[in-house]
Amino acid sequence: MMAATVDFVEADNAEAIISRIEHKSRKIESLLKQSRPVEALKTALEGSPPNTRDERCKSANWIVVHRAIMAIKDLDALFSSLDPEYYDILMKYLYRGLSTGDRPTCDQCLRIHERLTERAGLGCILRSLADTMNTV
């Protein structure tokens, strides 16, 4: 009985996270319509749920971040206004993007990866690789 209760709570929590992500998604669509892709990306990266093990939550957030990443056209604008606190989480999502194998996604992620590495250094890459607890 106890185990079932715990699972129920976890699922509940996942539902809450997913509905937050859906809310985020609507905000991002509106930001993209206003040609504010950098803010869209920041919104997507904010509140990323790394400490849940639930794959549905991670996938849901990835879809939202992917949308924002693909909408970036001006890399200079991105890096002049993206705060350093987002670098590590962005790097994790870039690697997720690179792992999809999808040509347009990989091209875009590679483009951003080059600039991000220049800005954040190799340590940023290390942090996304070495952290096996908080994965995206």
Partner: protein, 378 residues
């Protein structure tokens, strides 16, 4: 130049230690031997070879008062070497390990030494006068993976350990008959042997290299995620700071004063970290010169080639550095620095000289006398 002396002793060095008068250096050239070299008239000459271990010697420490060398190896053994006459005589210490020994350090009073191992245990060894041998007491609990580094607190009782399970732990190593209960020392002297005082869960990846500040108030250790952790007021309510930095991970750290820490690692160049007046730690600068190529990608040698191939896909031009590709990354060391050893008076609170050794087989002596900007931090 902060690097005042560089010497290539071997193709690769795993660890090193200095004699009390700093005239001799002992190191392991990545095999089962320990070589001792003596500096005479500006030339290094091989003085002794200690051959007893069967596998790589992973840790060496040379006590400054008793002039004893302790060595530990992947062969699960440890030897304490005493200088008698003109020879180094080994005494086997039975550690009771079933995995490799990875690191060793003499305690501040040199009556004990600690060994970290791949058996998820820490051995605390002390000398038993009646039987004329070194006894090993094991701390078996708590660690979930290999113990990569050990560091003694100045009070000779507390020991900090780092492990590949990502955690840094502080234990009491109080041994009846060896240590005395100091009524003034407070909580540390009330603890039993092997009792865990503190566990720090700051890193999400392997932890290496731990060191205490001269007063014992602050602890620093590194994680493989290019992060260094500083913990003030180690005790029931510690204050932790995570400093993430731009470059490759560190492997070892050394406090050269209460407020300055030197980190060494995969960038082949020592990194200086300092705390400001409010106690906030941050990266100051690299110690050695960094080779930056004038044009093209910002990363030298192996990285520019790899990145060139990676980014070449997205139609960027691949900059061919040509000859520059074969040059070293950091400057003085050409490969990862794995070991940093202080060269001051034992127990002094400020150190301005220290040495580093690395996988490139070099031992480099650094002196901060010429680094005006850093001397202010001390």
């Amino acid at each position: 130049m902060a690097a005042v002396a560089v010497h290539q002793f071997a193709p690769c060095i795993t660890c090193h230690a200095w004699s009390p008068d700093r005239s001799m250096v002992a190191f392991c050239p990545n095999n089962s031997e320990v070589h001792i070299y003596k500096l005479s008239e500006d030339k290094w000459e091989q003085a002794h070879i200690l051959q007893k271990h069967d596998q790589i010697v992973s840790g060496i420490d040379w006590s400054s008062r008793a002039n004893r060398i302790v060595t530990v190896s992947h062969d699960r053994n440890s030897y304490v070497w005493n200088y008698e006459g003109s020879e180094w005589v080994p005494t086997l210490v039975i550690l009771r390990l079933n995995r490799a020994a990875l690191c060793v350090q003499w305690s501040p009073q040199e009556n004990k030494f600690a060994v970290g191992s791949g058996a998820k245990t820490v051995c605390i060894c002390y000398y038993e006068q009646e039987n004329n041998w070194w006894v090993s007491k094991l701390i078996r609990k708590r660690h979930n993976s290999s113990v990569t580094s050990v560091a003694w607190h100045p009070n000779n009782i507390l020991l900090a350990t780092t492990s590949t399970d990502g955690k840094c732990r502080v234990f009491s190593t109080f041994i009846k008959g060896v240590d005395t209960r100091d009524s003034k020392a407070g909580s540390s002297s009330d603890s039993k042997f092997g009792e865990q005082i503190l566990q720090l869960d700051l890193s999400f990846s392997w932890a290496f290299g731990v060191n205490w500040s001269p007063s014992g108030n602050t602890l620093a250790y590194v994680g493989h995620s290019s992060t260094i952790y500083f913990v003030d007021d180690v005790g029931p309510s510690p204050l932790a700071q995570n400093v993430a930095f731009r470059d490759l991970p560190l492997r070892d750290v050394l406090f050269i004063s209460e407020k300055v820490v030197i980190g060494v690692g995969f960038d082949c160049n020592p990194m200086v970290f300092a705390a400001d007046e409010s106690g906030m730690w941050s990266f100051v600068r690299f110690l050695g010169e960094r080779k930056t190529s004038s044009t093209g990608p910002k990363y030298g040698s192996q990285f520019s080639e790899a990145f060139g191939k990676l980014y070449g896909q997205s139609k960027h031009s691949i900059n061919n550095d040509g000859i520059d590709n074969s040059r070293q990354r950091g400057g003085v060391h050409e490969n990862c620095i794995t070991c940093i050893v202080p060269l001051g008076e034992a127990g002094s609170s400020t150190i301005t000289r220290f040495s580093t050794s690395g996988l490139d087989g070099k031992v480099v002596i650094w002196d901060l006398e010429s680094q005006q900007d850093l001397l202010e931090y001390l």
